[in-house]
């Protein structure tokens, strides 16, 4: 039953998004704009600084993720549908998990476009180790979205939520950004340091486990006034 609720919420978000594609298009275009802005800021004499591609990729993911989180919950606020979700007897952590999976799917889709774009614009060999890259991106995105989904959901009834979301989210997700950027940077080195990659991945996995658990645990008290 728990899994069924997760599935229902996820499928509902997916259907809504497919109808309008609003968040997908705006998030993706915003991410691409970020990449370009950073390209103009950092590329000198046609060359990006060493490891710059890794940083730019993750900055784009973090910024676009914040935008997507805000928009997704703004949509639930418009007809107060989040209230309706909370009024249903369905397990509230299941609602959280459904929303989280939706955000992760959306960001993954954005990353599928972003990675080749960044690789192309910065002549970075991002796609040299696709499996490692996929693992890093997935664990990093889950960690970022786990905290972000909870914060965006709880901020839905706060004033000035648009600006408060990044203010709260970035300091907490610093470990994800550091680990994501560094691990992606390792992939760009000529020789792959697997041991180091494993350290960063372990950190990301631990972060995911701890914060998804914490979010599931605190979602109920945070959503009741």
């Amino acid at each position: 039953m728990f899994a069924h609720i997760v599935w229902l919420v996820l499928r509902k978000d997916f259907t809504v998004e497919v109808r309008s594609l609003e968040i997908a298009y705006t998030t993706l275009f915003f991410a691409i704009s970020c990449v370009l802005v950073f390209a103009f800021a950092l590329v000198q004499e046609g060359r990006a600084p060493v490891g710059g591609a890794a940083g730019i990729l993750w900055i784009a993911v973090a910024f676009a993720g914040t935008l997507a989180l805000g928009r997704t919950f703004e949509r639930e606020r418009q007809a107060e549908t989040l209230r309706a979700l909370l009024l249903a007897p369905a397990a509230r952590p299941a609602v959280y998990l459904g929303k989280l999976l939706g955000i992760v799917a959306l960001l993954t889709a954005a990353e599928i476009v972003l990675v080749p774009l960044v690789a192309l614009l910065f002549q970075a060999s991002l796609l040299a180790h696709p499996v490692w890259l996929a693992l890093i991106l997935l664990t990093g995105t889950v960690g970022f979205a786990a905290v972000g989904t909870l914060f965006a959901a709880m901020l839905i009834r706060a004033r000035s939520r648009d600006v408060l979301l990044p203010v709260l989210l970035y300091p907490i997700t610093v470990p994800v950004i550091i680990a994501g950027v560094r691990a992606t940077g390792v992939l760009l080195e000529p020789e792959l340091d697997v041991g180091l990659l494993q350290v960063w991945l372990a950190l990301l996995v631990c972060f995911d486990v701890v914060f998804v658990t914490l979010a599931l645990w605190t979602f109920e008290p945070l959503m009741t006034e």
Binding site: F151, I172, A179, C206, L222
Partner: protein, 218 residues
């Protein structure tokens, strides 16, 4: 105010007056010179910063699940003290770093972690200030996440710094300063307790004023 408050405040003032003398007479550290003395302020501030953050986290956890408003007031007071002692830590740290490392800011693991923790504390206060009604619970959630996040920040910054090839050799911080440091630490602890009590009391009074206002019948 409780009966212990005034004597303790007097003691704290006395200790703050004595501390400079003790610090001045402490053994002169030859390689660092005078700037080493900043540690008698820096280390106690950092400890109080940590204590304030932990107090805020635990009080927030209890408020979130038990709903006791006293815990909420304690968390709020502790968050403000975390910002205050955090500023002291973050200002005195670079002052020392300028002399020791030759740069104002070194992405040292402790300095960076402190900065991130301080950011969370500031975010907590911003949320309470601008979040509108109901932000007390949300802030409690943030504090809880912030506390759980501390080891992750520390480990990630540590790896980021130490594995990075351009890391300078950072001189390890001396850890033994003898009596003056402990004297200084106790003084700061007293200040922390007094400020916390005062701040909690202010919120208690506010809550009472609100309750009185609400109990008036029209």
């Amino acid at each position: 105010m409780p009966s212990w408050f005034t004597p303790l405040a007097a003691l704290c003032a006395l200790m703050f007056a004595t501390a400079p003398i003790l610090i001045a007479q402490a053994p002169y550290e030859s390689t660092m010179g005078l700037v080493q003395k900043i540690f008698y302020v820096h280390l106690p501030s950092a400890w109080m910063f940590l204590l304030a953050a932990i107090t805020c986290g635990i009080a927030s956890l209890r408020y979130l699940f038990r709903g006791d408003p006293r815990q909420d007031r304690l968390a709020w007071a502790a968050a403000e003290l975390a910002v205050l002692f955090g500023v002291l830590t973050l200002v005195t740290g670079p002052l020392w770093a300028r002399k020791a490392w030759g740069v104002w800011w070194q992405w040292d693991v402790r300095l960076t972690s402190s900065l991130m923790g301080w950011m969370v504390a500031v975010a907590y206060l911003l949320l309470r200030r601008y979040g509108g009604p109901g932000s007390d619970k949300l802030a409690a959630g943030l504090a809880l996440f912030g506390i759980v996040n501390v080891p992750f920040v520390y480990i990630s910054v540590n790896y980021w710094r130490t594995i990075h090839p351009t890391t300078n050799v950072v001189p390890t911080l001396p850890t033994s300063f003898g009596v003056p440091l402990w004297f200084s630490a106790v003084t700061f602890l007293l200040l922390f307790v007094l400020l916390l009590r005062m701040r909690v009391r202010l919120e208690e009074q506010r809550a009472r004023v609100d309750a009185l206002y609400l109990s008036m019948d029209s």
